[in-house]
Every structure is written in structure tokens, then in C-alpha cells.
Amino acid sequence: MRPFMLCICLAVLVVPLGPAFCQTFNARRMAMGGVVIGGGGPAGQTSNVAYRAVPAPSGGATELTLPLGLIPLLANPPSLDPDDSDFNLFELANLLYNPPWNLQLIAHDAPANDISIAIARDRLAVDLGEIADVFPADRSRSAGVQHGPALTLGMRGAFVSASPLVQYDNDLSLNEALRRALRDGEPFTPNTGYAMFDRARGQAAMSAEFGWAGPLVARGADARAADGTALYVGARAKLLRGLAYGDADNVVAFSTADTLFASDPVNLDYRALLRDAGPAGGRLGRGLDLGMVWLWRGAEFGIGVNDIATRIDWRVRESLAYTDSTTGEFTQQVLRDGVPITSEVPATVTVNAAVRVGGVLVAADAVRGAFRTAAHLGLETWRGPVAFRAGGGIDLNRQAQFSGGLGMRLGHFGVDLALATHSRNLSRERGLELGAGLALYH
């Protein structure tokens, strides 16, 4: 298999899925269903800038997760050579889709069924077996915004920071005819148009941020105490410098004739409008994050909205890619250079709440991203030096997922273990993973 074909296959396999339920790189959160645990201090500011001003709860910890999943990967690395008999495209795609940080206790094997193609003069049917599950039942959309580690300097409530930002989104759909043929195994039929549409976009920028977070209202010596209350707000303005941009509006289509296997070939029509820019094409951008946290009688409520009206200007190269109808070869033709465009970074809204009921911490959140909303619920209770945790949520594949775990504290040090189900695999089936972490209690 040629490298180009390998890339195409991996892209086709991975792109439609998107992160179903982001892997949690924190064993405590993972055990609590992946819920946002606001806490306080700079570490909590990613999803809600107001958390920067919220005092960390007593007994809070700095946590370090252990990459257990790397152990089996390093012991038995996958083959990257398509000519190797051990090469497995699905394992690689699953690896990209579900980075091997946590240890996968129940992982689904790559489909190993035969694929059957039936050909007659007027009939073509493809039975992909389990592999058909790779194709979504409806359109597949995925998106993500990743903020890299920030270098931050702060004084009182004000701060400046710098961090990288990466955003991507993808919207893939098959027309009804192609979806039925590939996913449902229905025969291809004469005089029918088959098409796949894909809109993909990715952009990277460096962000310089200026902000302030502080208490608007504070009553009581300890805002987290049962009689305390405080309202914290934060704002973070962003000045962005574009580094790389690319988008593609792809259509792959073909139409069958009166006879499926007639003597005249049917052309696969690929057309894409591509726009790309490197650092030289990057211009300035701007954006805003706002957050609010309310502590009230031991309960905590937060709402953070990131990337409000975040835009980046670019000068892009615009080109048309297509298959030549005569030769069938792939061709890319530059249409214009230096075309001014303004890209958008979609807003992310995080709403979270935490309340202590008796000795149990109950935390919940809902995160609305570019396309979908995920929700989580987590519980934690300490019995002496041992913490018992449980949680669950609805992931981006609209599946319910569950988790549980233990934490053990010895003085300032602690160990956390978590088990969680997920559907981060090509066939969206339920898997089970183990996460572990070390905690340094303050």
C-alpha cells in the first residue's frame, strides 16, 4: 500500500469520528466521570478564567498522571510499515483516535471479518461486515480547540500569558445512496449519483493574553466555608498571531450509468477548494474569554465562555484540486494568492457546579463545543485516607459512560486510580481504561 493511500485510509478512518469523550489526563477527574473540577488558582483557568481568582480548597492537590498506556505500546509497538504482515490500519487509526496514555483494559480488536463484493453486469454490492460501523449513521462532525501550556505572569488580579492555540473541525457526510451502499450493504444501482462531502479546517496561532480575575463580591473570611459567599469574575483578552491555516471543501462523487459495468468507465470526480497559509500568511487576531464563579455556602457554580468572537486574519493561497476527467490524475491549480480571509474560533461554553452533600462532593458540568454538548457527573467521598469516586456522563457519541476509582493519601502524597468506560474507537463500542496518577497535597 502506498504511503499516499495509507494516509488517505487513515484520514478516512479517523476524521469521521472526532473525539468522542476526550481522554482525561487526570485520574481523579477520570474516576469522577471526567467532570470539570473547578478547584481554584491558575490551574483551573483554562475553561473558566474566573477560576484564576478562586482560592483553592484546603486539601487541594497538584496531580501528575502516569502514562500507563505507553507501557504496552513500547513493549509491542505497532508496525508502521504497510508492507509488514503485522501492519494493521485499524490499530493505527485507533491509536490516533485514542492516544495511549491510559491503559486499555478492554479494547476492541480490529474487525477481522472478510469483505465481500458481489459483481454482476448490473449489480455491485459491498458487504463490509463490522467495518461498516466505521461509517456514521448520519453526518459526522468533530471539532476541538486545544490551548497549550501557558507561560503566565501575574500581579494581584492582573496577568499576562502566552500560549499556543490549535483549532480544528471537520464535517463529513455521505449522500443517502453512498451511505446505504457502504454502511447498510445495499447494492449500488444504475443511474445513481454517489457522493461524499467533507469540510475540514485547521488553524494554529500563538496567543498573547491580558486579563484580570478577582472577586466582585466576597463575604466571610473563607468563601468556601458554609457561611461564606463570593462572586468571582474574570476576563481575558487575546491577541493572536496566525501561524498556519488550512481548509478544504471536498466533494468526491461518481455516477453510475445504465449498466454498472459498462464498457465506458465512470469517472470518479474529486473536487476541492483548498485554502492554506503558513506563518507568512498569518495576520493578527483577537478574542475574548469571560468567566464567572459563584461560591455560596460551600457550593460552587461556574460558567466560562471561551473564544467569544475570536477571529484571525489570514492571507491565504486559494487553489482548486480535482481529478482530470481525461487522465484521471490528481491536479492542483492555484487560483489566487494572498486572498484575505478571516477565520473564526468557535466559542466553548463550560457550565459546572459542585456541592458537598454530607461528606460527598457532587460535581457536574456541561460543555458545549462547536458541534455537540457533553455532560458529566462525578461523586467523591473520603473515608479516612481513602477517597471513593464514581461518575458518568453522556459522551459525544451520545453514549452513557461510567467510571469509578480510588484515591489514597499518605501525608502530602497520594495515589489515584481510575477505571472508566469510553467509546473512543472506530466502531464506537464500549471500552474500559485504567488511569493512574500521583498527587501532591498542599
Partner: protein
């Protein structure tokens, strides 16, 4: 059919990418033929000592068959089995017939290659026989099914009765299928 080529390549990549999975290609060869060309009505062949021999007569002289593109570069054929079913209906007289199936690549006249199948049929007065034959194809033939096009020819050769009534019969091809099992091509 380039659109179909991508389907086949994607299907093969999926199958081969999984390691154990095979690509199983079912080809209904008969469907590519004109129904009129799949049967021959013969007769009357008069009885002569030793029987009158028609020689090899084409039922399908040279037919091009479009298959999937892209398989030959990615797939290694592990096996091909071909199933042939014929119905021989003899109304009068006795004799024999020999069906020969030829398959070749797009650049080679099919009848310049050895027959893939040679099937002898006994013709008995008033008897209708259905003959089924399934066999594994040699590597040359197996490779043809991964090509975008192949060519085929079908002939029959009748020998009439040595004595008795004239031979009148119909020979009809009822099924001609190929099942190709292919896996990922490794160097």
C-alpha cells in the same frame, strides 16, 4: 469504472488493514453475456458412421468483461474457484458435446489461450441433464480477476449420432460464477 475502483481499494485496504480479513469477490460472469449467446440449439445432426463432428463453434466469440479497477496493485489472489452449471436437453438422437471456456487478459484473444474449462456432456435421447462443475483456477486465470478487464469466449463442439435418429438438442449455460479470495499484497 474509477468510482468502483475506489470502493474496491477502500474495501481491500479495510480488509487487508485488519490482517486476517480477506476480500471475497463474487463475479457473476454469466450476467455479462447476452442471454442469446448462452445457449445453443443444434440439429438435426444426421447419423453417420463415427458421428458428425461440428468442430469448435463459438457460442460467445470474444466478450470483454469489465471488473473492478485497482485490485491488481493491492491484492494478492489467494484462490479462485469457478462454478459452471449447464443444462443439456436432448429431444432426439444421441451424441456428445464439449463446452470450452476461455479467459484471457484484455490484450490477448481468449481462444489463443488454453481453455479454462473443458466440460464433456453426454446427450441421450429425451434426457435433460443439469451438469455442475466447480474447480480451482490456475494462477494465470486467478490473476485475471484482479484486472480491470478480461476477455472470455465460450465454444461447444458436438458429435452427432453414429446411428439411429438425428440429434436435436439444446445446450444452455445456466450459471458461470467465480469466487475470488484475495488478501493484501506483500512484497
Amino acid at each position: 469504472m474509477r468510482g468502483v475502483r475506489w470502493i474496491s481499494v477502500a474495501a481491500l485496504a479495510a480488509a487487508a488493514g485488519c490482517g486476517a480479513g480477506n476480500l471475497v469477490l463474487h463475479v457473476d460472469v454469466l450476467s455479462f453475456l447476452d442471454p442469446a449467446a448462452t445457449q445453443a440449439s443444434v440439429g438435426p445432426l444426421v447419423a453417420v458412421p463415427g458421428g458428425l463432428y461440428t468442430g469448435e463453434q463459438p457460442m460467445v466469440d470474444d466478450k470483454s468483461i469489465s471488473l473492478l479497477e485497482g485490485l491488481s496493485g493491492a491484492a494478492e489472489v489467494r484462490s479462485v474457484s469457478i462454478r459452471v452449471s449447464t443444462i443439456a436437453a436432448d429431444s432426439t438422437g444421441s451424441g456428445s458435446d464439449t463446452l470450452r471456456l476461455y479467459l484471457s487478459d484484455a490484450d490477448t484473444p481468449p481462444r489463443s489461450t488454453p481453455p479454462v474449462l473443458t466440460q464433456a456432456i453426454d446427450l441421450r435421447p429425451g434426457v435433460t441433464d443439469t451438469l455442475e462443475l466447480e474447480f480451482g483456477a490456475e494462477p494465470r486465470v486467478a490473476a485475471l480477476f484482479t484486472q480491470r478487464r478480461m476477455r472470455m469466449a465460450l465454444t461447444n463442439s458436438l458429435r452427432g449420432p453414429a446411428s439411429g435418429p438425428d440429434l436435436n438438442c439444446t445446450v444452455r449455460l445456466r450459471a458461470l460464477d467465480a469466487v475470488v479470495i484475495a488478501g493484501r499484497k506483500l512484497p
